[in-house]
Amino acid sequence: MNPPGFLTSSWLVARKDMLLEWRTLDTWSSSAIFAVVVLLVFQFAVAGGAAQQLTGADLVPGVLWLAIAFSSVVGIARSMDSERQGDTLSALFRSPVDRGAIYAGKLVANCIKLAALELVLVPLAIVFFNASLAGFAWLKLILVLALCSFGLCALGTLFGAIVSRVGRGEALLATLLLPSATPLLLAGVTATAAVFHGDELTTVTRWLGMALGFDLLYFFLALATFEFVLEE
């Protein structure tokens, strides 16, 4: 009868979050609808004037990351809500597991939920704004999405927990997460634009490198400090 190790406990927490999501579809539904709304409103914003000259390849990178940024806030806030009702966060803290594992588990679940959202969002954005992607470009896009979305979730999961501890929701989370994630969003937009314009990813290696650095920096920072968020 041994307490579970790091990987096992992360997996248990991730699985629990995914199970909750499966039963309610709470996160996905609220964030997906919100993302579509962002696409819609953006369409109005660029409807007239000089924007007519812009091609799909010009518009999609910006609007895609705009939608992902805001929807991830909604999604993460929702997933922290599930811990609010029964005060389960304090129970997780008291469990015989590494507190970093709780973070890792929630992070994995948030990444999967965001990926599921992007699965729908990307084709929609391409359709709405008349862009197109040739064969291998899809793979490059997936790489860019993965690299930048991970960082968004890594930082978002930490901030989500902080915001949840003070009983607040999306607005405060967005205020913390989005400005902090500026480097990621810049990297995401720049690299996505490169993909849509048919450039090789080698032109944006600097940006991808920074995104990776960002991911690692905040992943380990959050891992180290998560127990202080859960304490008491």
């Binding site: 501890r165 003070v166 500026t182 940006w207 202080f228 008491e232």
Partner: protein, 232 residues
């Protein structure tokens, strides 16, 4: 209870700052030569640039006091974090105000999407969010802990954001050029140095003063709470 050693240092700091401020004003307004293209309004630069530096200095203080608080849990480090946060906020606001005041007459635009202004804006938002987290926390210790974690992430973030925006801006060269070190005359450099020293002294003084009031507030709060416990 301040020991005589601290009193002496405080007095010296106050005296030095009081002497430095007129020196800075003289240096910026009278000593420095007028810039050819931009005219008199360029003099704001002598306050704009040091304010940004000093905001970052305050963030460095915030980073240190955050880490020490998490290690030692002595509230005086949290008081220092609060002081550093508020002073950083003051200087960020100064940067964001002097920036447009300088930019508009000099280059015809209110806002420029360059590294310093964007990083400062990001920093300002994050610092405000950190203050909100403190306020919303249900008790002092929780607020201090969460603010400490945010202090660390914000400090790490400021550097990455600055770099990212620099890169990004490098891709979109603007028409104007700031007073880069290469193109600057010696008198201007001296004026900048004098202003930097003065504003740094001012920053340290403000942090020190704010820290002392925060200590008094904390001690008073605790006395009140202790009395409430003892009374019936």
């Amino acid at each position: 209870m301040r020991r005589s050693g601290t009193r002496f240092l405080d007095a010296t700091l106050l005296a030095a700052t009081i002497a430095a401020i007129p020196a800075a004003i003289w240096a910026a307004m009278l000593y420095a030569p007028t810039e050819q293209t931009m005219g008199a309004v360029q003099r704001i630069f002598y306050f704009h640039v040091p304010s940004a530096m000093v905001a970052y200095l305050s963030v460095a203080v915030l980073l240190t006091s955050s880490i020490v608080y998490l290690a030692k849990r002595d509230l005086k480090w949290d008081d220092l974090s609060l002081a550093a946060t508020e002073v950083a906020l003051v200087f960020c606001t100064l940067v964001l105000i002097t920036g447009p005041i300088w930019a508009r007459p000099a280059w015809g635009t209110w806002w420029t999407w360059e590294a310093r202004l964007i990083s400062t804006l990001v920093l300002e938002i994050l610092l405000l969010a950190a203050l909100l987290v403190r306020r919303y926390a249900s008790n002092r210790d929780l607020g201090a802990r969460l603010a400490a974690i945010l202090g660390i992430t914000i400090a790490a973030d400021v550097y990455v954001v600055h770099k990212a925006v620099e890169w990004w801006r490098g891709m979109h060269p603007q028409v104007f050029k700031e007073g880069g070190k290469g193109s600057i005359q010696t008198e201007m450099q001296t004026a900048l140095l004098i202003c930097t020293v003065s504003i740094t002294l001012l920053c340290v003084l403000l942090i020190r003063l704010r820290y002392r009031t925060a200590r008094i507030e904390t001690r008073t709060q605790t006395m009140i709470l202790e009395r409430a416990e003892e009374g019936d």
